[in-house]
Amino acid sequence: MSERRVELDVLRYNPETDRAPHFQRYSVPCREEWVVLDALNHVKENIDPTLSYRWSCHMAVCGSCGMMINREPKLACKSFLRDYQGVIRVEPLAHFPVERDLVTVIDDFVAKLARVKPYLIPKEPKALEAGEYRQTPAQLKRYKQFTLCINCMLCYAACPEYGLIPKYLGPAAIALGHRWNQDSRDGGRDQRQEELAATEGAWECSFVGACSEVCPEHVDPAGAIQQVKIRSTVDWYLEHTMPWLTK
């Protein structure tokens, strides 16, 4: 029931009037159990209706409200005010262009997701009458973890390689490709390798591991990327030393 006054330093940017982003300070009366998203909603509803930001579910499943909170990529709906002291710095997710205020341009991310062919590519054609695919618990477990991604892009904001090399496919996209490669129903790994094993695929990763640390769903994209690297390396040496093995 108790209240506390929280200071937010929020990065503002109006493309129609501003040459560059700048910080704006808001003083917000907050409830003890609030998250940063609640504070932002209070600002928008009561103090400054011009503040723009993405959000939806308010329960860490939709992936909309990713932003930099005290320079760390976080979901605003999962960042409890009680965990912060002093002025809280709120900025748009790093490594993405700023559209307006806390809204980023995510076109690059969406395009990269599509490039890894994130859909079932059957091993052989299967008629509907043949019935459903069957999968053991072990086969499901093999890729289950990588299905949990909510496309929140925190991993892209945490990854310095993506910040330094914008062409890099990035953690979520590679993990997504790996999810399908590991699926026993799928036969499309060779097709996905064109993207995953390219220079701008898994090879730009230097295993900083920040992506897995910030991931709210514990997908472990870093692990997925290393697994892709190892598989791609084995492929490469087999292809170049014993080409008859790989048709």
């Binding site: 310095p160 064109e194 090879w203 230097s206 390396t233 490469w236």
Partner: protein, 116 residues
């Protein structure tokens, strides 16, 4: 987007990283002991020459030197880029050349170690 040839440099990096993780610390302990005046038996002149006289050992040492230097070189290349040095091709050429030069130097030294 074509598949990269990165495995050529990454394979030895991964192997070297694993090798140096297992082996380098204890080897440094040996040379550090020597530094403190407590020279391990193997690092005595006669013992080391006898050890390094075998062809198998020579080959093993060349492999250890190559993988150690290569993985260090690769990491240095990546770190330079991380810290803002954008001339990747130049840096890569320099570091890998250094690794190969060190390996060649080791090989030459070992070839000169004919049994006394």
């Amino acid at each position: 987007m074509a598949k990269s040839n990165k495995p050529i440099v990454w394979g030895p990096f991964a192997a070297g990283g694993t090798l140096t993780a297992f082996l380098t610390p204890v080897l440094i302990v040996l040379t550090l002991l020597a530094g403190f005046g407590h020279v391990p038996d193997l690092l005595g002149y006669e013992a080391l020459r006898a050890f390094a006289a075998h062809g198998v050992v020579k080959m093993g040492l060349v492999v250890v030197v190559f993988l150690s230097l290569w993985s260090a070189a690769h990491r240095l290349r990546i770190t330079c880029y991380d810290l803002g040095l954008r001339a990747d091709t130049l840096v890569a050429t320099l570091v890998y050349a250094l690794a190969i030069a060190g390996t060649v130097a080791a090989a030459i030294a070992l070839l000169r170690l004919t049994p006394a």
